[in-house]
């Protein structure tokens, strides 16, 4: 049943994404793009882009988006409930343990080792998104016809702006989008 599948997929995403922000991204990708193939790599990239532009956590945004696309409003509810259920249990239990013992050594030890792993996983998901953006057919190859030169230029420009100026993520993304729209209009093709 599709509602149960959505529920359990997002249950796993909710239960194993530690560290907030982009930490959910590799898990969403594994479940939604690679596993169930509910979204294509391009749709996934668009979803992450939209998530950046709208309020709310990436995982909740993804749950609503994928749920609605796959099974309508009820699908969105099933996916979202799955996504936040682990949080409800874990945080409440932790709040209880914390008020009682005020000691979270083991948890902090686990988290210390999770942080570098999460960085690596986000890097991997980021590389996939970069490949989708820069290579026309979505695979790395040195064939020049397969490289979108404009996309590569916007990427480098965006990275330089982010590192060298105080511009935030959303202005940089909007700028890249506007540049591509203007240039493709001027050239008369997409």
């Amino acid at each position: 049943m599709i509602y149960l599948q959505l529920f359990f997929s997002f249950l796993q995403i909710g239960a194993f994404s530690f560290g907030g922000g982009y930490a959910a991204m590799p898990l969403i990708q594994a479940q939604i793009v690679d596993g169930h193939q509910w979204l294509t790599a391009l749709e996934f990239t668009n979803l992450i882009t939209i998530s950046q532009m709208t309020p709310g956590p990436i995982a909740v945004n993804a749950a609503t988006f994928v749920g609605t696309q796959i099974a309508g409003p009820l699908g969105a509810v099933a996916a979202t409930v799955g996504c936040i259920l682990p949080s409800c249990f874990f945080v409440t239990a932790l709040a209880y343990v914390y008020t009682k013992y005020r000691k979270l050594d083991l948890l902090q030890g686990a988290l210390g080792a999770l942080r570098p792993a999460v960085v690596a996983l986000i890097a991997q998901a980021g590389i996939d998104i970069l490949v989708t953006a820069v290579f026309v057919n979505g695979h790395v190859s040195l064939d020049l016809g397969n490289v979108s030169v404009r996309a590569a230029v916007w990427f480098v420009l965006g990275l330089v702006l982010l590192r060298k100026t105080k511009l935030g993520a959303v202005p940089v993304m909007v700028l890249c989008g506007a540049l591509e729209a203007v240039v493709s209009m001027v050239l008369g093709r997409g």
Partner: protein, 189 residues
């Protein structure tokens, strides 16, 4: 403190408005929560808020949702959890439902499609920049253990295509073993 139904109502509207107007992820919402619940409403004291932030960050899931849960639990128990989670989740649900319903018409528009195409490059740059900062933070620890986990995890997912959940569980288990060993050594000294 005020009547319970008043607290629940205020809790709902607080988490709802925080979630509605917060762009930029969990760490932003935590500092806004502090402003709201510590500085404005005086429902939570500063030190408690620090502990609650630690709990929200240590738990799996979105930090904004975790923050709402821990604040709700502290202020009104389980009904508080339900009310504040509902308030925090409602705005993104409504907005993304609308986006999702309009997505096909939206994406068929050539101007929108080329804006999104350009933004793909933008989001790639954002993620690379985030990873850069996070990776530099790990390298700065000068810990062989952390570096090994980072490189091992990267190879595991990129080259060997190991399941993401398995990588996370392995890293957590290694961290727990390491803490236990360190504690044992500490006791022997």
């Amino acid at each position: 403190m005020e009547k319970k139904s008043t607290v629940l109502k205020k809790l709902f509207f607080s988490t709802f408005s925080l979630s509605m107007f917060t762009f930029g992820g969990g760490y932003v919402i935590i500092s806004l929560m502090k402003t709201k619940f510590v500085d404005q409403l005086h429902w939570i004291d500063e030190e408690e808020m620090l502990d609650m932030t630690a709990i929200a960050q240590s738990s799996p899931g979105a930090i904004a949702v975790n923050g709402a849960i821990v604040v709700g639990y502290k202020l009104a128990g389980l009904p508080g959890v339900l009310v504040s989670v509902f308030g925090a989740v409602l705005p993104p649900m409504v907005i993304l439902s609308i986006v999702s319903l309009c997505y096909d018409a939206f994406i068929a528009n050539p101007v929108v499609a080329s804006v999104l195409k350009g933004m793909e490059s933008g989001i790639s740059a954002v993620i690379v920049s985030v990873v850069w900062d996070m990776g530099a933070g790990i390298v700065k620890q000068k810990s062989v253990f952390s570096a090994a986990i980072m490189i091992g995890s990267f190879l595991a997912c990129m080259v060997w295509k190991v399941n993401v959940v398995l990588i996370i569980l392995t890293a957590a288990a290694l961290g727990i073993v390491r803490t236990l060993v360190a504690e044992k050594r500490g006791r022997r000294k």
